[in-house]
């Protein structure tokens, strides 16, 4: 981010932090105090989060004041600025990276076998970023072929190595032809918490 835009970003984020800190504090105050259960009042669960909420709100407040002193409240958002932002090549690359990754991780994975989802993802990612819209498709067939080959190789190798060599479960199960998904011990899901 450009240095001259930092006070504006600080102004917006400081407001978010103040609201967030207050929210954390309010929810901490609403936590049970187990008064009827003869519990030591200094052990109640809301003490530490309440303390943290207050500190985050305070630090956010300091940043808010500082950004106001630097005139960060003059956000200067106009039609031109928004258009420039949306048309920037970096914004497109940024948005498409997030979209392709999020669709793979949160939508496709788990619904289709792991290898299929991964191959689709790798192909879509490489094809999107390598495709040049100003050149005819025929001239880019080699690139697309390489993307396809990489997609199949990555999905197959990652699936095989992790399941068969490292004995790791993969989301969405596997292609039964290659290797069946490892069974989970009943009740062990989420047991290790690190």
């Amino acid at each position: 981010m450009e240095e001259r835009n930092m006070p504006k970003a600080d102004f917006v984020t400081a407001m978010i932090f103040v609201a967030f800190g207050i929210g954390v504090l309010v929810l901490a105050l609403q936590m049970p105090r187990f008064e009827g259960q003869d519990v030591n009042p200094y052990s109640v669960p809301g003490i530490v989060p309440g303390f943290l909420g207050a500190i985050i709100a305070f630090l956010g407040g300091v940043m808010l004041i500082r950004s106001i002193l630097k005139k960060g409240y003059r956000l200067g958002i106009d039609r031109d600025a928004v258009t420039r932002f949306y048309r920037a090549e970096a914004t497109k690359r940024f948005a498409m990276t997030i979209v392709i990754c999020v669709v793979y991780a949160l939508v496709v994975l788990g619904r289709v076998p792991y290898e299929v989802a991964t191959a689709l993802f790798v192909f879509a990612f490489i094809a999107y970023f390598e495709y040049e819209s100003d050149k005819p498709l025929r001239a880019q067939l080699r690139k697309i072929g390489i993307a396809l080959l990489m997609a199949v190789l990555v999905a197959g190798i990652v699936g095989y190595v992790f399941r068969s060599l490292f004995l790791v479960n993969l989301p969405g199960g596997g292609l039964s032809l290659l290797h069946p998904a490892l069974p989970m011990m009943p009740g062990t899901e989420g047991m290790i918490h690190v």
């Binding site: 981010m1 930092m6 970003a9 600080d10 984020t13 954390v24 929810l27 936590m31 049970p32 187990f34 030591n40 200094y42 052990s43 109640v44 669960p45 809301g46 003490i47 530490v48 989060p49 303390f51 943290l52 500190i55 985050i56 630090l59 940043m63 500082r66 090549e89 970096a90 690359r93 940024f94 990276t97 997030i98 990754c101 999020v102 793979y104 991780a105 949160l106 994975l109 788990g110 991964t118 993802f121 790798v122 990612f125 490489i126 970023f129 990489m150 990555v154 990652v158 992790f162 790791v168 479960n169 993969l170 989301p171 989970m184 899901e189 989420g190 047991m191 290790i192 918490h193 690190v194």
Partner: protein
């Protein structure tokens, strides 16, 4: 002392078998490749390795992680020298003099000197690790809840201070956000579920490894893909192995940078990038060629690389003795030790002192492998840097997904990785350091339990936080760390300094009379 040396020798002998040596070689080599590639950091490499090795025996798994860590911090120097893009943040200072050397056609020499500098730094760090871990561990046996509360706060404050040189306020905010993240889920005293909003998955809390894979993996992918295309320079690489005198003439810089790196590493949540910059800055001030730094000065390159690799072993000192990480990759290492049933912390010198010296032996193996591989496989590895980012990044993301999912087999953790990746990206864009955030996630539980325990012990009395001697020292350190960055404090210190100097000049007889 002798017992410690005996345990170290036992550790070395225990690792002298073909399987371990093979594991050391491949994991160090993989670490070098991970470190070389911009977008892949040491933290992510160690996090991914943790998920892959959790079915292995403890010392076998930990040695792989240590090799990955040391290899990656060293490996970042390759891209810093050849491309002027630090492979990991730890190598930013390396690029300042390393890349000009490559542009002068001395890339091979720069790589060789960076390798030897990293090796010597790592050896100095290893000596520090062996010497200070038992000392600090034994001292920390005197800590109770009051001291651990202050230690958690001190960790956040110092980490925020040092990782956000422009604006420590942002570092502190990031740290306290991390502490809050650790509050989510079931707490450890009354088993009350906090901030889950009725979501079952959230009631288990936010796991450290998916959050870190997101912060250091996915956010890096977004950053790398957003940037304009990187032009790879084809650099001719000549002789790599340096002559002994080329390195040994800088022995003062090497020892100074090694000591700085070790100590900066031992400070919670600060890490290799800061230690490299501090070492570089000190070398620049002390050198008679200080004005040539930045133009391809070998001494600058040595200072940066010695500093960052000495820091790696230094970060393990608080991991083992206090269960507090010295850097982000060390936080993953700490988590991995917990997974494998090792309990780092003050009791480690009583419960399993041999593990401390095994870790020292692991550092020795990793360092030796790094030196051998670093000097021997330079030309083929340069080709790795020529893989286009659009082909590499989807593979990296695939590994991020598997790394987040593998330990607990929860799809929810993939979501955690994605959310923390996007959050990490925005925080970095707005100059918030992410290391305090990670440290906060680790220290949150320590703060939560110890603050409440301390209040219970004192029946709500907060005076012991300021009257117990170690607590008082930590409290003063916290206050000094905070005010040391305030303009009014700097003005007062400056005023006192000039008054004292005037008084001294008035008292002492003038020179030359």
């Amino acid at each position: 002392m002798f017992e410690g040396f005996q345990m170290f020798v036992d550790g070395v002998v225990g690792f002298l078998n073909l399987k371990i040596i093979f594991d050391v070689l491949w994991s160090t080599q993989l670490g070098i490749i991970v470190g070389m590639l911009p977008g892949l950091t040491a933290t992510m490499g160690v996090a991914l390795m943790t998920t892959l090795t959790f079915s292995l025996e403890t010392s076998n798994a930990v040695i792989i992680l240590v090799c990955m860590y040391i290899g990656a911090i060293y490996g970042g120097s390759r891209s810093a020298i050849l491309l002027n893009i630090p492979g990991t943040p730890a190598n930013a200072a390396t690029a300042v003099d390393g890349h000009p050397l490559a542009r002068q056609g001395r890339a091979g020499r720069a790589i060789g000197i960076a390798t030897v500098g990293s090796f010597l730094g790592s050896v100095i760090g290893m000596i520090g690790l062996a010497f200070f871990t038992p000392l600090i561990g034994n001292f920390a046996l005197r800590f109770n809840s009051h001291e651990f509360t202050w230690l958690a706060i001190f960790g956040i404050v110092i980490s925020g201070n040092l990782t956000a040189p422009k604006d420590p306020l942002k570092g502190w905010i990031a740290g306290f956000l991390g502490l809050f993240v650790a509050m989510i889920g079931m707490e450890g005293i009354h088993a009350h579920i906090r901030y889950s909003f009725g979501t079952i998955a959230l009631s288990g809390g936010i796991a450290l490894i998916p959050a870190m894979v997101g912060i250091f993996g996915f956010s890096e992918i977004i950053t790398v893909m957003k940037q304009p295309r990187i032009e790879v320079i084809n650099t001719k690489i000549e002789r790599v192995i340096p002559r002994p005198w080329e390195v040994l003439q800088y022995w003062r810089t090497i020892i100074r940078s090694g000591i700085i790196g070790t100590f900066v590493g031992a400070v919670p949540g600060v890490g290799e990038d800061i230690s490299a910059w501090v070492s570089y800055d000190r070398a620049k001030r002390a050198s008679k060629n200080g004005d040539k730094f930045g133009t391809g000065e070998i001494e600058g390159l040595i200072a940066a690389e010695t500093g960052n690799n000495a820091c790696v072993a230094g970060t393990m000192i608080p991991v083992l003795s206090l269960a507090i990480p010295g850097s982000a990759p060390a936080a993953v290492l700490l988590a991995a030790m917990f997974i494998h049933g090792v309990r780092p912390g003050p009791l480690i010198m009583i419960e399993s002192p041999e593990f401390v010296y095994e870790v020292v032996a692991m550092v020795l193996f990793a360092t030796t492998a790094m030196m051998i591989l670093g000097l021997s496989m330079v030309r083929p590895l340069v080709k790795v840097l020529q893989v286009p980012r659009q082909k590499l990044m989807p593979v990296v993301f695939t590994l991020c997904v598997v790394g987040s999912f593998a330990i607990q087999s929860r799809v929810f953790d993939i979501g955690v990785m994605v959310v923390f990746g996007i959050l990490g990206y925005y925080l970095k864009e707005m100059d918030y350091p992410v290391a305090p955030l990670v440290l906060g996630i680790v220290l949150g539980d320590i703060l939560d339990k110890n603050l409440r325990r301390a209040l219970i012990l004192g029946d709500g009395d907060i005076l012991p936080f300021f009257t117990r001697p170690i607590s008082l020292v930590l409290a003063i350190l916290v206050v000094l760390t905070i005010v040391s960055r305030m303009p009014w404090f700097l003005a007062i210190v400056g005023g006192i300094k000039s008054t004292v100097m005037r008084a001294v000049r008035a008292v002492l007889p003038p020179r030359g009379r």
